[in-house]
Subunit: 147 residues, 4 copies
């Protein structure tokens, strides 16, 4: 287990945020957003972060690298509801030779709803681990990874 990041619940510690709006298809019979729907939100925000940082994910992939998800942690604090706009603050942190972590803070109108961490490994198209591209460390710096 590599997961070690503890994402801050203080939005001012993040430099990048991505906004999504919850979909009705993502609600469940408890009347809230189903906990599995958060995972694509996280993925969409890290894709948005890579685009913002000048490394769109489809270009990363066509360059022969994928960032496989090795570990995932989500803490559900308060539920999300249909049609809410969620600000997802994202930070890239703890790059090693082959892995890095991403921290997420999900807020609605400034209220913390959830936080999350994903651990990623760079892999080639056959799924074998490869070295992180050097720009990943710059992206981590850009997002002010607090280590």
């Amino acid at each position: 287990m590599r997961l070690s990041l503890d994402p801050s619940t203080d939005a001012s510690e993040y430099r990048f945020a991505h906004r999504i709006r919850t979909r009705f298809a993502e609600t469940d019979a408890m009347g809230v957003i189903h906990h599995s729907a958060y995972i694509p939100y996280l993925e969409e925000s890290r894709a948005a972060l890579l685009r913002w940082a000048g490394h769109p994910y489809d270009r990363v992939r066509s360059g022969g690298i994928d960032f496989a998800v090795l570990e995932l942690y989500v803490r559900y604090r308060l539920p999300l509801h249909f049609d809410e706009e969620v600000d997802i603050h994202v930070v890239v942190a703890r790059p090693t030779r082959t892995t890095f972590q991403i921290g997420y803070l999900l807020e609605v109108a400034g209220e913390t709803r959830s936080s999350a961490v994903t651990v990623h490994g760079a892999v080639d198209p056959e799924g074998r681990g490869v070295r992180l591209p050097p720009w990943l460390t710059e992206v981590a710096d850009l997002t002010r990874a607090e280590d």
Copy 2:
């Protein structure tokens, strides 16, 4: 528009059925199974039908053919609920040189809940249309496609 099949609501007219159990993740805030969740049910039942007919879909795909979905029609008659077991009756029909249709009847304990049709085209890995494999007509006969 090629879709022309009108699936029977009489289960005795089908020779193959596949049973699924609805998931809580597939419910929505109206307390029923969300209408988008039916689409993977249909796909899972046609994969089960191909397996039953001796042509598992992963072998079809590794043979260089995919059955792309060209059209989709679903009629929602009565809702599905969490934890219900759904019998999906499936029939393959109307093969042409490059396309075929599949009809579906969704029942719970003998009660019609939904019916559906998909239209498929055989494509190569680049997505170009190719001729249907000859065994497809046999599969259609096996499922007693009423034309």
Copy 3:
């Protein structure tokens, strides 16, 4: 079967469009957006249309009315890919006492990728059919339903 709308592939015939960006989670092993992922796109665009027309869906629902999906038709013309921005043109049409239809045109950079129709019925929280709210006809006019 009530579905009778044939959505125009001419974007200029629509007054409202909603843009979504495809998610990586929505791709499949054929390398394109899975056909089931379109259904939440359609739902998100009609929610956006209702919001634009001054009748946000959560307010409609808290007013005791749901717009149940009775029928769904999708025609897949050209695939969608990861990270594409899709313009979904939407029109509300053919209101009756209890039902209406919605037509959709999905374009990427002006190229038609898909079209779709949903048929909806107004229902109360117990799922019983009720009369359409009177403003629905105005919304249909707003979107220039071509009957």
Copy 4:
């Protein structure tokens, strides 16, 4: 953060397992099962466990209790592929007055693919924390929670 369980990768330490078959809809453009698809697998297996233990989840819910997901952790060791049959071994552990944890081991033909933990809290229909039902401890014992 309450999550403290470290699920065994030795299947013989579990008394209950549930088998699912992966769906094509759950694959992604990397050709494997998308990491978000695992979350409904976990949910389906704990629903199967509750049914096996004599406390089906819909009866739990109609009795006025929901088991909200408070935390989620997944470790992805080896990918899952389309049409694989996955044995999900499940254990209930560490009940407190209001929370409990569930551990999961995902295997295909005896090979470890993934492990996971969820932390749950008993809530009433308004989402307020309530005491765990007393039978939950018995279910934990049944599944041989190694504390």
